[in-house]
Symmetry: C2
Subunit: 421 residues, 2 copies
């Protein structure tokens, strides 16, 4: 296919999405929820068809030499299809953010001024490998009243194609506008470029995947992008910390699920408690199989620790590895985190109220925790009900993003004929 | 100066701004307010120095053949300096948004999750001609805890230079970090490009000026931009409108101050009331000196109306001109506004509750009014206390932007040692 053909295809998706979006914006919650439940049922009813499509992706994946782990992420079976359907049913049960009016105030002249949550319009999701993103992101966009254009990776093209088609068909039968959920049918690189140039048609781009994908999207996009890169999360153990609590939180933040973005990658310890805390946490970490890369002070107190490079302190290991350093005071800890961190999630362990407040104000990250594991920075754990992703940007959404973050707002004014004097 | 020199100068401003921002973020409100009052006093104490610098700008303006209107916008006298100082004192009196914690909820495991408003860090303002933007934008950025890099137009360089210097000096003497307020000392075009490339140093760019300036900023920026282009605002007179109210609001929206972005530029009338309403509003508009450009139905009912081109319906006249059309129903009015409008501010005049609600939900604009003049879409009128600008974007801020919109948020979590199971 020529680049021009690809562009034409993507532009046609855009036009259809805008038409769908105009109707989706004012659909009743009950209609959207019914559609989501219909999509979930359709997934389960079409399980064998989905599995057959998925087999084709797995076949080409094996031919291309994908790793066992990659193939496993790609695989759909009856259980995983059921889980996708259940996730959709859960989205159907969430409160609908669209149309909510908040911050209403009455002005001296009697006009009432508030803000109403409204859909963005058309959202583009650009993602890699796992086909469940198709179901997940599609459901969250529809629930928040947005049409969605999905662009998945080539490894999952057959799986994504059938999932998107089933969602759009079942949705339309249940009252959703046609083309509310569309998948880009080609995996050409040119399709991504075409999407990213469609300012005025697509309102928001959310990339989900590795750093190189996200960097490419940020570089090329003429449309606002919400994203996050790494999660180099820190736990800082303050001079006044309860050291039992500190141990408990460090072990949880590092070891409970080391491969995710809110796992701790860096440990900072106040010098006043370094001698007491580092040997005991060192022993615990080492017995849990964690490799420690520390500065000189850490290495002096933890025999098993290796010297850390500057790069180690900046790294998201996503593995049983932790960097560690001793800092002279709270300000040094804050400065360290702002310099070496990735502005994702950081925790302080302290009994000192003033230190807790200074840490909250001073750390320039999306999520800042006092006496709680970094692992809590997640839409579900925060009580948002769901999560479309995490933003380490500062515009619009920062931290875990739920349904509300898939909406924008407009000012609404209710008057009785007032004019400006 | 070579482009490289300019880039170096701007990068140095960026480094100083970041250092200032780190301290500004946790300054007490009282310190910031004292600094703003000191700036205001300094302006008044240095009035003759300011006027002398302004004279140089006026001189070059006259040499360059600036229009009388442009020269007037540029002019600073004792009265205008006093007004700038008073505006700063007003900013000092506003509530400080920084540090506010909102949306706090307790999760089943006992962690308390909320959001805290925090400054962006460094904000870049790129603007044209009027030197009072220097004072205004500078004060709002400081109040919201942000360091600011100002880049004004070449016509006002001497005025802007002294205003920024006085603000930074008086602020620093009152406890603000040095370099909280900086002006780019060169008017090279390269300075703007350098600013727009400083992603990671400048957190947010706000352009204020004409369309070509804003388009250039959007095209070049690697940093998030909040902006608005035109205000092609509509008043839609519904079938059920109180026609006295409609007349009152149309006249206010069009004529009270035609040169501003929230003045009405387009009138839509439901066909059921066209015969009754158009002749009378036509007469009123014409006697107020307004030129009417209408579709065939309008021209048939208003003898003085000229035929409108498609372009007329899309135009922000900023003058005593209005485009007008008759529509068959509410849906057509909404579709018209979303197609021809600029997503700024629209008003419906109606007595029908259902029509009012459908208009609020269906119109894709930053501000949607029921039975109130479009002229109210303004930070002050909405009760935001001030206005740094208006956004017709959907990300982060939409509509008039006050102090809160100059902040971002972080999630804060308060625990007692909780870990993730």
């Amino acid at each position: 296919m020529t680049e021009q053909d690809t562009t034409k295809i993507v532009e046609a998706l855009g036009r259809r999405a805008r038409t769908a979006a105009a109707r989706l914006a004012s659909l009743r919650p009950a209609v959207k929820n019914r559609a989501l439940l219909a999509m979930a049922d359709r997934f389960e009813a079409s399980a064998s068809e989905i599995i057959a499509a998925n087999e084709r992706d797995l076949g080409s994946g094996r031919d291309k030499g994908l790793s066992a782990a990659m193939l496993d992420r790609l695989r759909l079976d009856a259980k995983r299809i059921g889980a996708m359907a259940d996730a959709m049913r859960q989205v159907a049960r969430l409160d609908d953010p669209v149309g909510e009016i908040y911050d209403m105030r009455t002005r001296p002249n009697g006009i009432r001024v508030g803000r109403m949550r409204t859909p963005f319009g058309v959202i583009g999701i650009i993602y890699e490998s796992r086909p469940n993103v198709t179901a997940d992101a599609g459901a969250l966009c529809v629930k928040s009243g947005n049409a969605v254009i999905l662009r998945g990776g080539s490894e999952a093209i057959h799986s994504n194609t059938i999932l998107a088609r089933l969602m759009d068909e079942a949705g339309a039968e249940a009252g959703l506008p046609e083309h509310s959920v569309q998948l880009v049918p080609t995996t050409d690189r040119a399709a991504v470029s075409a999407m990213l140039g469609m300012s005025g048609v697509i309102d928001l781009i959310i990339p989900r995947g590795g750093r190189s994908l996200i960097e490419m999207v940020v570089r090329e996009s003429r449309i606002p992008v919400i994203k996050h890169y790494d999660g180099n999360c820190h736990v800082y153990v303050d001079a006044s910390a309860d050291l039992d609590m500190a141990e408990h939180i460090v072990m949880n933040a590092k070891c409970q699920r080391p491969g995710v973005c809110n796992a701790a990658e860096s440990l900072l310890v106040h010098e006043a408690v370094a001698q007491q805390f580092l040997p005991r946490i060192g022993e615990k970490l080492v017995s849990a199989g964690v490799e420690i890369r520390g500065d000189a002070a850490v290495c002096a107190l933890i025999p098993a620790a290796k010297p850390a490079t500057d790069e180690d302190h900046r790294t998201e290991f996503l593995d049983l590895v932790i960097s560690a350093a001793v800092v002279p005071n709270l300000d040094a800890a804050i400065a360290w985190i702002n310099e070496y961190g990735s502005h994702h999630t950081e925790a302080i362990i302290t009994r000192d109220h003033d230190c807790a407040m200074r840490f909250l104000a001073g750390v320039d990250s999306a999520c800042v925790h006092v006496n709680a594991s970094t692992r809590f920075s997640d839409g579900g754990e925060y009580g948002l009900g769901c999560e479309i992703g995490i933003s380490t940007d500062k515009l619009h959404a920062r931290g875990p993003m739920g349904l509300v973050e898939l909406t924008t707002s407009k000012f609404v004014v209710l008057g009785e004929g007032q004019v400006r004097e």
